[in-house]
C-alpha cells in the first residue's frame, strides 16, 4: 500500500478498508482467564490485532519513600512473533513509550489503591506487574494494550500466602480481587492528512502526523494524556480528539463489562 494512497484517501474522507474515521474494526473480543499460571490474564482482539496480557503478583519490601504502599508496573513486549517489523532483544523505544503511556493511564490515574497493597508498612507489600505480549500487530497497539492491561487487572485474584513462612503459594488463588478504584480506558486518536481517526491499521500508522492518547474513567474524567508524532495539534483539534476519546472509551467500556 502506497503511503500517498492513504493520504489521498484521507483527504477525500475515506479509509483503505472503507471504515468511517470514528469506526473500530470488528470483531472486538475480550477473553479473560487464558493462562492458568497468571494471577489474571486476557486475550484482546481488535480486528486482526491480537495481544495477550498477564498479571503476576509478588510480595516485596516497599520503597523507602512510600513505606505504606505497594506498586504497579506495566511492561510491553513487542514480539517478533507478531510482526516482521519487530526484532528480538531489549525493549525498543516504541515498546517503552507504549508501556509508559499505558502506565500513566492506569497507575498514575490511581486505578489501583496502592495503599491497600501494603501488608506490613516498611516490610511487605504486593507489587503488581502486568506484562503485555503482542501476538499479531495489525495496528492500534495503544488501545489494544490499554484495554488488555485493564481487563487483566480486573481478572486478577491474589494468590494464597503461607501463614508460617510468609511465602506466596502461586499454585492456589484466593477469590480476592485487586483494589481497583477507577477503570481508565485509553483511546488514541490519530491525525492523518488533517483528518482525525481512531483504530488505525498499520498503513495509517505509517503516515500519521500526530496522535493523542487520552485516558478517561467512567465519569468522563481525564486521567492521562500523551501527544505523539512529529506534527503539531491545534487546540480545536485537541478538543475534538478528547471528545472522540470520551465517546470511544464508552463503547469499549461496554465490551469490558
Amino acid at each position: 500500500m502506497n503511503k500517498q494512497t492513504v493520504l489521498d484517501l484521507a483527504a477525500q474522507g475515506k479509509r483503505i478498508d472503507n471504515r468511517a474515521f470514528d469506526e473500530y474494526r470488528s470483531p472486538i473480543n475480550i477473553q479473560t482467564d487464558i493462562s492458568w499460571t497468571a494471577e489474571g490474564s486476557v486475550r484482546v482482539q481488535i480486528g486482526e490485532t491480537v495481544v495477550m496480557a498477564g498479571v503476576k503478583l509478588s510480595l516485596e519490601k516497599p520503597y523507602n519513600d512510600t513505606p505504606n504502599e505497594g506498586g504497579m508496573m506495566v511492561n510491553v513486549e513487542l514480539t517478533p512473533l507478531s510482526s516482521s517489523r519487530y526484532e528480538s532483544g531489549p525493549p525498543s523505544i516504541k515498546a517503552i513509550e507504549m508501556a509508559r503511556v499505558i502506565d500513566r493511564g492506569i497507575r498514575e490515574a490511581g486505578a489501583i489503591d496502592v495503599k491497600k497493597l501494603c501488608v506490613k508498612p516498611g516490610e511487605k507489600a504486593w507489587f503488581v506487574i502486568v506484562d503485555v505480549v503482542t501476538i499479531n500487530d495489525a495496528g492500534n497497539m495503544f488501545d489494544s494494550i490499554g484495554l488488555a492491561v485493564l481487563a487483566a487487572l480486573k481478572d486478577a485474584r491474589f494468590p494464597e500466602v503461607d501463614e508460617e513462612t510468609g511465602s506466596v503459594n502461586y499454585k492456589k488463588k484466593t477469590d480476592v480481587s485487586l483494589p481497583i478504584l477507577r477503570e481508565p480506558i485509553s483511546i488514541t486518536v490519530y491525525k492523518v492528512n488533517g483528518q482525525l481517526l481512531v483504530d488505525p491499521i498499520v498503513e495509517e500508522e505509517d503516515v500519521y502526523e500526530a496522535r493523542l492518547t487520552v485516558a478517561t474513567d467512567k465519569d468522563g474524567v481525564v486521567s492521562a494524556m500523551q501527544k505523539g508524532g512529529n506534527g503539531p495539534l491545534t487546540l480545536e483539534e485537541i478538543e475534538k480528539m478528547v471528545s472522540i476519546a470520551l465517546e470511544k472509551a464508552k463503547m469499549l467500556r461496554e465490551k469490558l463489562d
Binding site: S35, S41, T79, D131
Partner: protein, 245 residues
C-alpha cells in the same frame, strides 16, 4: 507399586487433551497454536528472507533459526524476567536441530527462516509443545518439508513409565503420598513421524536402560497421535478456508 493412578486420572500411556490450529497470526508467513493440557505454544514463521548478520548466511542453503520465549506470566511460580536466558537459548538451539532434518532450504541460499515461539501458559513439556507448533507453522508457511516432527515428554515417575508428564509428575515426590522419594525422570523426545527417527532427545533423572527404551517405545505411540492432530489442523485450515479469529 507406588504410583497407582495418575494425578490427573489419565492412563499411563495416555496423552493430555490436545488442541491445534494453524493460521493464528495473519502477519506471519505461517503460524500455529498447539495446546497439550495446560501447556500452550504459539509459533510464527517469517521468511525465507535475507540473513543478518551477513556472515551467518550460507550460499548453499537457507538457515533455520528458532526463538523460544516463555511469556513473563507463563511460569507456575514467580514472574519470569523477559529476555533471553541460558535455558531459552539452549531450548531454541535443540529445537532448531529437531526440525532441521525434515526441512529442505536448498532452494533458499543466503536466506533465513525464523520461527518465533511464545508460551502463554505452561505445565511441563514446553519444548515438545513448541516443536509441535513450530512443525505445523512451517508446513502452514509452505516451507519444503519431507515429514512432520512430533514431540512429547516421556519418562518415569516412581515405578511407572509414563507418556506426557505434567509438572506435578516431574516433581512426583511432592505430590504422590506413596512416593519413595526418587527423582522423576523426564525425557523430551522429538521424532520424524514416518520413520520414528529421533531428532531431539534429552534426559534428566535416574532410570535403567530398559526403562529408557520402554519410554521411547511409548513416545512412538504419542507421536502417532500428535501427528493426527497436527494434520487435522492443517486440513481444517485449507478445507475450511482462512479462519483467522
Amino acid at each position: 507399586m507406588t504410583y497407582e493412578k495418575r494425578l490427573d486420572g489419565r492412563k499411563f500411556d495416555e496423552l493430555r487433551p490436545m488442541e491445534a490450529k494453524v493460521g493464528v497470526i495473519p502477519n506471519a508467513k505461517g503460524s500455529a497454536s498447539f495446546k497439550s493440557g495446560k501447556t500452550w505454544a504459539i509459533a510464527a514463521v517469517y521468511g525465507p528472507k535475507e540473513v543478518f548478520p551477513r556472515f551467518l548466511s550460507n550460499p548453499k542453503r537457507g538457515l533455520l533459526r528458532c526463538h523460544y520465549t516463555m511469556m513473563p506470566f507463563s511460569g507456575s511460580g514467580e514472574r519470569i524476567r523477559p529476555g533471553n536466558s541460558r535455558r531459552s537459548q539452549e531450548i531454541a538451539m535443540v529445537m532448531t536441530k529437531a526440525l532441521e532434518p525434515v526441512i529442505d532450504l536448498s532452494e533458499f541460499p543466503n536466506s533465513v527462516v525464523d520461527i518465533y515461539i511464545e508460551l502463554p501458559q505452561t505445565d511441563a513439556g514446553t519444548r515438545c509443545a513448541a516443536i509441535c507448533a513450530a512443525s505445523m507453522a512451517l508446513a502452514h508457511a509452505g516451507i519444503p518439508m519431507k515429514d512432520m516432527v512430533c514431540a512429547v515428554g516421556v519418562g518415569k515417575a516412581d515405578d511407572k513409565v509414563l507418556l506426557d508428564l505434567t509438572y506435578k509428575e516431574e516433581q512426583i515426590s511432592q505430590f504422590n503420598e506413596a512416593s519413595k522419594g526418587q527423582p522423576a525422570t523426564d525425557i523430551p523426545v522429538a521424532m520424524i513421524h514416518n520413520t520414528k527417527e529421533v531428532t531431539l532427545l534429552q534426559l534428566d533423572g535416574e532410570i535403567s536402560k530398559e526403562d529408557v527404551m520402554k519410554s521411547l517405545e511409548l513416545a512412538k505411540k504419542g507421536v502417532d497421535e500428535i501427528y493426527k492432530v497436527q494434520k487435522q489442523a492443517l486440513l481444517d485450515f485449507y478445507q475450511g478456508g482462512n479462519q483467522n479469529e
